[in-house]
């Protein structure tokens, strides 16, 4: 039924898929590069009264290490305009006050869905100085194309 060349092709195909699985698994579980999956629940209508989102902002938590507590709402990020020194590791803790938003920072691999009712976390080390564009990448309404801010790395 099958020619030798087809068997070889299918073995290679299978091998490729397994290869993808091994690399993805190694990166996820050994190198801790897995996708943002934090899942703590929060009342989406009481974000302003719930810690830590009652006090959004940037906080220094260690040597060149920062935590940004951020709320996303139509059509802005709070805090707006973040500044950190080059070489800093920044931990973002985020939630949405209304609809589903996306948190994406151009020129980095920061990309996470921020869903009302859930706390989302993602971390990035900023080595290169510059101004990074933060934007919402999930359609959230009439002003979606305006929903942006910047992270300045000095």
């Amino acid at each position: 039924m099958m020619h030798r060349s087809e068997k070889i092709w299918l073995i290679l195909s299978f091998g490729m898929i397994i290869g993808f699985m091994l690399i993805t698994g190694y990166q996820t579980f050994a190198l801790e590069m897995g996708p943002p999956s934090y899942g703590e629940r929060i009342d989406p209508q009481k974000v302003d009264e719930t810690a830590p989102f009652d006090n959004p902002g940037i906080k220094k938590v260690g040597e060149k290490e920062y935590e940004v507590v951020m709320t996303l709402q139509v059509f802005s990020f709070t805090p707006n305009e973040i500044e950190v020194p080059a070489g800093s590791t920044v931990h973002f803790t985020m939630t949405s006050k209304d609809v589903v938003h996306g948190f994406q920072v151009a020129d980095t691999n920061l990309n996470a869905m921020v869903v009302p009712g859930y706390v989302q976390k993602i971390t990035q080390k900023f080595d290169k100085p510059g101004e990074y564009l933060v934007l919402c990448n999930e359609y959230c309404g009439a002003g979606h194309q305006m929903m942006s801010t910047t992270i300045t790395v000095k």
Binding site: I17, M21, T24, G34, P35, S37, Q104, D107, N109, Y118
Partner: protein, 564 residues
């Protein structure tokens, strides 16, 4: 009793023969003509809306307040993702069922018409609030964005209309099986069975989602579970994608070999591909949620495997297609390692269009495999890359196959003939479409890698330098979009010319035969009940854990928002 059965068997055999000699019955032809007319009107309208978006994203066109970018995008998605695909798939497979099963049963014909009008009614209901800017929620309508309830009621009718056609197909196939005990379902009807099984089971989750949204959109229920809705949507959303793909694949396996004068690929392997795609499809939807909160990393990892597994039958198909081409070309005297390609009918649009469609699936499928893996998905999720990806898969692999089908299917149902002029027009159309899609989808992939988001009207983000640097790439969206618009106009012209004006004549429904020396296909391939059970078990493995978690450990729900 026995004589009665014998007689019905005889009448049926006579009908089968009549069908083959005289072509499709007028009543069955009318169903397919109507479905295809709607499909190509949808592509005309959807194409115009697509061009408007391309021009807007290139910064060349500001859309008026009464027809803003997000209305246009919602309508573009609904027209092309739901209307074009559903109507083409049903029109094509109903003609296939009629041709290979000896005509549609009168009952099934009636169901096809009820389904037709339910879908049209549902679509009109859904479009009214979109035009009134009461439903600018995209075709994904993620809660807690809430459109007018009318929009969701429209969706219910579309789903019910699709189910009507799915059940019609099941009834026709079951009746044929009863009349032909011990025989394999003809291959095209086998594909149709797979597609309608997926259409039915795949749309159950979205039906549940919409039924929970409606009372909430009316205000009878205060809040909604956002993650459950989102998860149910994608259980449907990705299945839908693979339904069109399986429709295109059916033409690659069954139709194209006949058009090039060859025989089709091994029957058993073909049926295995269909079975594998049916069993494994629905679970693939989770890769749309790789960077969602609330799903643990091990569960996401399992879903990567379930998504990538769908790649395997596609890789089987890749081999099969090129093997059929080579075998056919060599029989016609083609020589050399690759020199045989000269023997293929490149000037025949019925081959050229689906061939380019298949070739496009090589980068499209590779991109799909890459972006399904967790970490790489994070790089491209919700960027223009994704838009580029599905214009390559759907806009090329699927739609170009549909175009190629139209050049014989429409003359077949209208009892007319494809003229050399229209064939030439089709070849030029194919080239224009190919160039347009390569330019547009290529630019989308690239600018997406740079970070430009999808589903966002033109924005410089307050003259941000990074955003401004995307503009030159976005300009290609306008160029590609313009070429595609020309392609749409040519295609729609060809379709309606072939339907109403081409010279009368008999056009064949091209179904290829298997190789003469092929071993008979084993009976177990016909065990549809078993395949459906396997599918349900797999869906359970994928969805029970996350859905139960989202329901049992649900956060307080969200009220409806109208943010546009």
């Amino acid at each position: 009793m026995e004589t009665v059965i014998k007689q019905t068997g005889k009448t049926q055999a006579f009908k089968d023969k009549a069908n083959k000699v005289m072509g499709i019955s007028l009543e069955d032809a009318k169903i397919t003509k109507s479905y295809l007319s709607v499909a190509f009107l949808a592509i005309l309208l959807g194409g115009i809306l697509g061009l408007l978006q391309g021009l807007n994203r290139a910064g060349m066109l500001e859309l008026p307040a009464w027809l803003n970018y997000y209305q246009v995008l919602t309508a573009h998605g609904l027209l092309l993702v739901v209307v074009l695909s559903a109507f083409f798939t049903i029109g094509y497979f109903y003609a296939g069922l009629s041709h290979t099963l000896g005509g549609l049963l009168p009952k099934v014909r009636k169901m096809a018409w009820i389904g037709f009008w339910m879908k049209i009614f549902g679509f009109v209901l859904a479009v009214i609030p979109i035009l009134m800017n009461e439903a600018s929620v995209m075709y994904t309508f993620y809660p807690p964005m809430a459109a007018s309830p009318i929009f969701y009621i429209g969706l219910v009718f579309i789903v019910l209309g699709v189910w009507m056609c799915a059940f019609g197909a099941f009834i026709n196939v079951a009746s044929w099986r009863k009349r032909n005990p011990g025989q394999h379902i003809p291959i095209l009807s086998f594909f149709a069975t797979g597609v309608f099984v997926l259409l039915f089971f795949g749309s159950i989750p979205v039906a549940i989602e919409v039924f929970t949204i409606i009372p909430w959109a009316f205000g009878w229920v205060e809040t909604i579970n956002v993650m459950v809705a989102r998860t149910l949507f994608w259980a449907f959303g990705h299945t839908l994608v693979n339904i069109w793909y399986l429709t295109a694949v059916s033409a690659w396996y069954v139709i194209v070999p006949k058009i090039i004068g060859g025989r089709r690929w091994n029957d058993l392997l073909t049926r295995i591909v269909v079975i594998a795609l049916v069993i494994m499809n629905i679970t693939g939807g989770f890769h749309h949620q790789i960077i969602d909160p609330g799903i643990s990393e091990p569960v996401k990892y399992m879903h990567v495997f379930m998504s990538l597994a769908i790649g395997f039958p596609s890789l089987m198909t890749a081999y099969a297609m090129f093997a059929v081409f080579e075998r056919t070309a060599r029989k016609k005297g083609g020589r050399g390692l690759i020199g045989w390609y000269k023997k293929l009918p490149w000037g025949d649009v019925r081959f050229l269009a689906p061939f380019i469609a298949m070739a496009a699936f090589i980068p499209a499928g590779a991109g799909g495999i890459v972006q399904s893996t967790n970490q790489l998905n994070q790089v491209v999720h919700n960027t223009m890359w994704i838009v580029g990806h599905f214009h390559l898969t759907l806009g090329m692999s699927v739609v170009m196959t549909f175009f190629g089908i139209s050049y014989w299917l429409i003359p077949y149902v209208s009892k007319r003939m494809l003229t050399p002029q229209i064939n030439k027009l089709g070849v030029i159309q194919t080239i224009i479409w190919t160039l347009g899609m390569i330019i547009m989808s290529g630019a989308m992939h690239w600018v997406g890698l740079l970070g430009s988001p999808r589903r966002t009207s033109y924005s410089t983000y307050f003259d941000n330098a990074t955003a401004l640097s995307w503009d030159p790439y976005l300009f290609f969206l306008a160029i590609g979009g313009t070429l595609l618009m020309i392609g749409v106009l040519m295609q729609v012209y060809a379709v309606f010319y072939l339907m109403f004006f081409a010279p009368k004549g008999n056009t064949e429904f091209p179904v290829a035969d298997v190789e003469e020396d092929e071993a008979p296909t084993p009976r177990w391939t016909e065990r549809w009940g078993l395949w459906i059970v396997c599918m349900i078990v797999l869906v359970g493995m994928a969805y029970v854990i996350p859905l139960v978690d989202f329901i049992v450990n649900a956060p307080p729900g969200s009220p409806p928002y109208k943010t546009w």
